[in-house]
């Protein structure tokens, strides 16, 4: 997780979070980690033991593999600007993403937005085309009590 500051914005209440979330029925998440060169904050294997953050075992195995990486951004209004950045990171691994998608998995680029502040952004067609070419699903979610 990382926090970024936009020097052009002085509004400290502007904030959001970007998540790259990959689900797959049975892919080993370590393969994704190795391919992307990014250390995820969440990596679980399908069928593996479920545990809470404190280590307590939960009933039942993981139904699918999860790989997730996220970072927070503060003081920045144009949140879609991070799409271009993520696309730059993922495009070299286009084949892996295509394999994930074709084998039942999904690649989600998610923007978690606060519900107590006004944010606005635009996603140009070129960025949309790049995401489509990478089989990436774009998601947006608003949290009333975003911290």
């Amino acid at each position: 997780m990382m926090t970024e500051q936009d020097p052009d914005e002085d509004q400290s209440d502007l904030r959001y979070r970007v998540r790259l979330l990959i689900h797959h029925p049975n892919m080993d998440p370590s393969r994704i980690t190795k391919a992307l060169g990014i250390t995820p904050h969440l990596s679980v294997m399908a069928g593996g033991e479920r545990r809470t953050r404190t280590g307590a075992v939960l009933p039942g195995p993981h139904a699918f593999s999860i790989w997730s990486y996220s970072f927070s951004v503060e003081g920045k209004r144009h949140f879609f600007s991070d799409v271009e950045r993520m696309a730059d990171t993922l495009e070299p691994h286009k084949d892996l993403l295509a394999e994930i998608d074709s084998s039942g998995g999904s690649i989600n680029l998610i923007f978690d937005l606060p519900g107590d502040v006004n944010l606005g952004s635009e996603l140009g067609w070129r960025e949309m085309a790049r995401l489509a070419d990478l089989h990436v699903v774009l998601g947006i979610e608003v949290f009333p009590d975003f911290r």
């Binding site: 969440l42 107590d116 009333p144």
Partner: protein
């Protein structure tokens, strides 16, 4: 063991094969029952059925168990009222004596003295039992023949209460009839309700099933349609029950009752942390159960319990909700 255990098998066969004579009584029952106890009744135009109605009430008839035990074909006691009625008709004693052991002759005597239909509805030959024995009293249904009096009513109800209902009560009568029967202090006094029952009986269908059941015929169309409809309803009920077992949403794991959306709980400030920690998409709904567990909806609609919400925060306590105009 039962009250009818001593009844001869041949008698049963004869009764089973015999049609029920539903000819209306020719004697006013009120008058008839008034005279039964004193043996003063002298039938004039009455059929033997009227005599049979009264037979069990007197003498030996009262001493026997109610029901069919008192009706033994081919062994009529000499004091039987039918014989008494024949005597009153002036039938010579030798004829009566001969007829006592000859059901066919008895039938002819009755027919000759009381008219057509008084002995049987099947004509001169009469019904024949399974083993070929003639039934002396095929027209007499002992259970129903006593409907016209209050005598032995309680016993009959105890033996075969359905027989009373089967032939149909006058509307609104069953309750009053039952109480009337049980409260009758003078059993040999005719009861108007019972007289009414006897008068209603021939007009009512004996059974809900058509006499000649042939599914698909126009006569039985209504009954057949009803039968089919009821079975279809029963089939649907069973089908719904089975579907409920195998495809019931109740069998799907869901957040327990009382669970609330996370943004309505003190854990709303930890919503993003929780979603990030469990790795769910924006479409995944998150709820907090009454016992504090985090329930997350998966992409396929199913739900997963991710354990206590306190495990998702460093402090183990919720961050709470912001003070907004919503509150």
């Amino acid at each position: 063991m039962g009250l009818l255990d001593d009844f001869p098998l041949d008698g049963w066969r004869g009764l089973l094969g015999a049609p029920i004579n539903r000819a209306p009584l020719l004697v006013p029952l009120m008058e008839a029952t008034d005279n039964i106890g004193s043996h003063q009744y002298q039938p004039t135009t009455a059929s033997p059925l009227a005599s049979a109605v009264m037979a069990p009430i007197n003498g030996a008839g009262r001493s026997q168990p109610a029901g069919t035990d008192g009706w033994v074909p081919r062994q009529l006691p000499p004091q039987h009222l039918t014989i008494h009625a024949l005597r009153m008709k002036g039938v010579p004693e030798p004829h009566i004596a001969a007829a006592t052991d000859n059901p066919e002759l008895m039938r002819h005597l009755i027919y000759r003295n009381f008219g057509h239909g008084s002995a049987t509805t099947d004509g001169p030959s009469g019904p024949t039992g399974i083993d070929g024995n003639r039934c002396a009293w095929p027209s007499i249904d002992p259970l129903h023949s006593m409907d016209a009096t209050g005598s032995l009513a309680d016993d009959r109800l105890a033996i075969n209460p359905l027989s009373q209902v089967r032939d149909g009560f006058p509307e609104g009568q069953p309750g009053t009839l039952s109480s009337t029967l049980r409260n009758s202090s003078v059993r040999n006094v005719a009861n108007p309700a019972l007289v009414q029952l006897a008068q209603y009986r021939p007009a009512r269908p004996a059974l809900p099933i058509p006499p000649l059941f042939s599914p698909g015929t126009s006569e039985n169309k209504e009954w057949t349609d009803g039968f089919i409809a009821s079975n279809m309803r029963a089939g649907r009920t069973i089908g719904d029950w089975l579907r409920g077992i195998f495809h019931n949403d109740e069998n799907v794991v869901r957040p327990p009752p009382g669970s609330r959306p996370i943004n309505e709980t003190p854990w709303s400030g930890d919503h993003t942390e929780i979603k990030d920690a469990v790795g769910t998409t924006p479409k995944g709904n998150v709820k907090i159960s009454p016992d504090g567990d985090v329930w997350v909806q998966n992409r396929n609609g199913s739900w997963t319990n991710h354990g206590p919400a306190e495990n998702f925060t460093g402090s183990g306590k919720p961050r709470g909700r912001r003070e907004t105009d919503r509150d």
